[in-house]
């Protein structure tokens, strides 16, 4: 080891933030939540944090903490890792808190070395100490502190252990006196670049010039972009010349040479620090974990999980709970009372109708949102919370890899796809965990087309459960077939190569009930905030169309498509019209038609397939436009809308031909 003086950063902003950085799934978000008291999404799989969360540290006045997406190593590989790299270069920072897994010290230290080189005050939290101890891992912490010249705190964040010490360490952290010596040619290039780049150009980042030079020499795209923005074109060309000339001195790419130097150092430190490496995972959890990725047993477990989800959300949530809320609570108690009150208090009939009429804000908008959607969404998020905290989702990536290879993707795509069953908008953001732009685009299309969100899924399940299991299987089969065909065709047409699956499988854990419950409540609250205004706007639109007579015109205009092509009653036009706002709102309109006996089983299946494939909600379209661009978002809408009606019409004819459900 070569330790000299600290690499001083260009500028440390005393009012800046402290960024939490670390490998994926090591508990950064738990520590962030404990230190700030702010609720963020936490789950037992990598990639939960796709956006930055900021919050004031409760015990450190005037200090803002930032939770960043997990990163394995720099240069970053995926879009979410790039978010973290950008934080380091672009944000005014006054320090770093690295959260590492105590069990996986080598991997933790590889990142520590890179963070220490940045020259910012750094504290290392060796988290998950309880798991490490349970597996017999023994670390010599004083040696680690001595070698890295930073403060190291052992923590078990889920139980709040070590957090007081961590806060104290953050308050007194200093820039690390750490300097790793690279091969002489690289050191010479770093010195040369440091001399070329004027101080003024580098003042805008808190990162030490040495670290910046190393990042750029390792072809870090974020660092390259940062330099391109700030250096003159001549200076940037000079840097490229230096890098190209330096490369001639090595057989291996520079990135690999730099990594090898770091790995050798990490190996030496780890050999001194790890007193006992402990045993790998044993016991029921490990065995069950292996069964979940087994080709046969894994499939059986997946089918069981899907059936349990269907029963809990479709039968219990959409059947029992919706029945209790819609008929007993709203139908018999709340709505008659509200109607009575409004009719007595409001003197104008039109206002009363707007509130409690056929298309009333309360009797339709609020009743749909609270009596129909809320129980379905809540049961889904509860079930989903259990699944994600158990660590089952990444195992699905391994199990489903072959299917996604067929779609030109890899198994990692299952994470946004399953998240899409919760909320397509959130899942579109999660596509950032995928490695290439092509993969992100493909998954975004599939999410927008064929993945129903929890609210819609619940309504669909509830309606289909009321018909027969065969109806559910037909719906699922058609939607799945469309997903396969469109996915496969898109993969063939989009140029570019598929990246190969590499995913970490976190241990299966028993979910912590309080965490699942809190997360469900937070998601339900977020969902209601998003859904209620749109439901009210949709109801108001229907009311206005009804009053002006335009609704009948819309129904008549839609009749050739809705009745002639899809074989549905003309009134279904209204459901599809509001489906433009939210697919689940449209589905709920169809649900009400079914309860009124207006749809036969065949029509239920056709309507559900069409509304499932219908365009995603407004929020999703906005997010697609933000993540990609408006052209992509509108192209997707232009593809999805006719496709939904085409498939629905073909299904109607197919079912009519075999005589099913009439």
């Amino acid at each position: 080891m070569h330790c000299h003086s600290a690499s001083q950063p260009a500028q440390i902003d005393p009012n800046g933030s402290i960024a939490l950085v670390g490998n994926p799934n090591v508990g950064k978000s738990v520590i962030f939540q404990r230190l700030t008291g702010q609720q963020v999404a936490i789950a037992n799989y990598p990639g939960t944090t796709v956006e930055l969360a900021r919050g004031a540290a409760r015990q450190l006045p005037g200090t803002l903490l930032m939770d960043t997406p997990g990163v394995i190593t720099f240069p970053p590989h995926s879009q979410d890792e790039q978010v973290t790299a950008r934080v380091l270069l672009y944000e005014p920072l006054k320090g770093l808190l690295q959260v590492g897994d105590a069990k996986n010290l080598r991997r933790t230290l590889l990142l520590t070395v890179q963070l220490a080189e940045l020259g910012l005050p750094l504290v290392l939290a060796l988290n998950m100490m309880d798991e490490a101890e349970a597996r017999g891992v023994i670390l010599n912490q004083p040696v680690l502190v001595e070698r890295l010249a930073i403060q190291v705190v052992a923590t078990t964040a889920t139980r709040g252990l070590g957090l007081a010490e961590l806060t104290a360490a953050l308050g007194s952290a200093c820039p690390p006196a750490f300097r790793l010596a690279y091969p002489a040619e690289i050191e010479a290039a770093i010195a040369g670049l440091g001399a070329c780049w004027s101080v003024g150009e580098l003042e805008e980042t808190p990162v030490a010039p040495r670290a910046l030079a190393l990042m750029a020499l390792a072809s870090d795209q974020v660092a390259e972009a940062w330099l391109r923005e700030r250096l003159t074109s001549a200076a940037y060309e000079e840097f490229l010349d230096v890098r190209n000339t330096l490369q001639l001195s090595f057989v291996e790419p520079l990135q690999a040479v730099i990594q090898t130097t770091r790995l050798e150092y990490v190996d030496r430190v780890a050999a001194e620090v790890i007193q006992a490496a402990g045993l790998g995972r044993q016991g029921i959890s490990a065995r069950l974990g292996r069964l979940t990725t087994h080709p046969a047993w894994g499939t059986l477990i997946l089918l069981s999980v899907l059936y349990a989800l269907y029963w809990f959300v479709g039968v219990f949530g959409a059947g029992t709970l919706v029945g209790l809320l819609e008929n007993d609570l709203f139908g018999n108690l709340i709505n008659p009372a509200v109607v009575n009150l409004v009719n007595r208090v409001v003197p104008y009939q039109i206002v009363a109708d707007l509130l409690v009429g056929e298309y009333g804000l309360w009797t339709m908008g609020m009743t749909y949102a609270f009596a129909l959607i809320l129980p379905i969404v809540a049961t889904f998020f509860l079930a989903f919370g259990v699944m994600e905290d158990s660590g089952y989702l990444p195992r699905l990536a391994a199990l489903s890899n072959r299917l996604f290879v067929f779609l030109g993707l890899n198994g990692k795509a299952v994470l946004p796809m399953v998240l899409g069953l919760g909320c397509v908008t959130m899942a579109t953001l999660t596509t950032r965990v995928l490695e290439s732009k092509r993969e992100r685009l493909l998954v975004t299309l599939l999410l927008a087309l064929a993945v129903p969100c929890s609210a819609q899924l619940g309504v669909v399940m509830g309606m289909l459960a009321g018909v027969s299991l065969a109806a559910t299987l037909i719906w699922a089969g058609v939607v799945f077939a469309v997903l396969l065909v469109v996915g496969w065709l898109s993969a063939q047409l989009l140029p570019g190569e598929r990246s190969l699956l590499l995913v970490e499988l976190p241990p299966l854990r028993l979910p912590v009930f309080s965490n699942v419950l809190l997360k469900t409540l937070a998601r339900v609250e977020w969902y209601l905030k998003e859904v209620v205004p749109l439901f009210l706007a949709g109801t108001a639109l229907l009311f206005a169309l009804d009053r002006t007579g335009l609704l009948q015109a819309v129904i008549r205009a839609g009749e050739p498509l809705v009745s002639g092509w899809l074989g549905l009653p003309p009134e279904a036009s209204a459901a599809f019209l509001i489906g433009f706002m939210r697919r689940d709102f449209g589905a709920t309109g169809l649900f009400v038609m079914q309860t009124q006996g207006l749809l036969n089983p065949q029509q239920v299946v056709v309507a559900m397939v069409t509304i499932t494939l219908f365009i995603p909600c407004i929020a999703s379209v906005m997010v697609i436009a933000r993540e990609r661009n408006w052209r992509t978002a509108l192209s997707m809408v232009a593809l999805i809308l006719p496709l939904a009606f085409l498939v629905g019409g073909l299904l109607y004819r197919g079912l009519a031909w075999i005589g099913w459900g009439t």
């Binding site: 190593t73 996986n104 991997r107 990594q259 292996r290 030109g408 063939q492 047409l493 995913v503 499988l505």
Partner: protein, 179 residues
């Protein structure tokens, strides 16, 4: 010469192999605008340049999905990595490398590095996960993907990726003697 990864077209008429990207005669052809064909420099027989035609690419992918075509290396760009660069001089008989996909489930393997074709970014990422030469890994399963345990981490790797990780030897675990 073009990119070594650019697959060649093998003329269906005379068997001559040529690189469509290096086919300069096209530049002087009066019909070149919008043309999606390429002519064999040896016999003039026209083949479809699947890089230029979306429909041909689609049909090619469709056929190659149902019918395996090992003899025809000219596939669309998405499959380039799977094709053999024929316009290089024939390589000498290659020594068969033992890789992670060859390790039976339940066995341990000592890593020996990576095959040359693996991009450096992926290599660096695998090293960061702990897949470093001379380290021992425990192979837990090989289907549907390769699952390995390294230290306290379980990783799932697609077979093609596992096939890029060289193994020095397979055997019972004695990591201490080697580290």
């Amino acid at each position: 010469m073009g990119d070594v990864n650019t697959p060649l077209i093998r003329c269906a008429m005379c068997g001559f192999e040529y690189d469509p990207a290096q086919h300069r005669a096209c530049g002087s052809c009066p019909l070149q605008k919008g043309c999606q064909m390429v002519c064999c420099p040896a016999c003039g027989y026209q083949s479809v340049d699947v890089h230029k035609s979306v429909l041909a690419r689609l049909a090619d992918s469709l056929f190659s999905f149902f019918i395996r075509k090992p003899s025809n290396p000219y596939t669309w760009p998405g499959n380039r990595a799977q094709t053999f660069p024929l316009h290089r001089a024939p390589l000498p008989a290659k020594r068969v490398e033992l890789t992670l996909v060859d390790v039976p489930p339940g066995s341990r393997a000592r890593l020996a590095g990576f095959l040359d074709g693996l991009p450096v970014e992926r290599r660096v990422q695998l090293q960061a996960y702990g897949l470093v030469a001379n380290d021992w890994v425990h192979v837990l399963q090989q289907a549907p993907v390769t699952v390995i345990q390294i230290g306290h981490t379980e990783l799932a790797l697609e077979g093609k990726l596992a096939g890029q990780i060289k193994v020095e030897r397979i055997g019972p675990e004695k990591p201490d003697e080697d580290r």
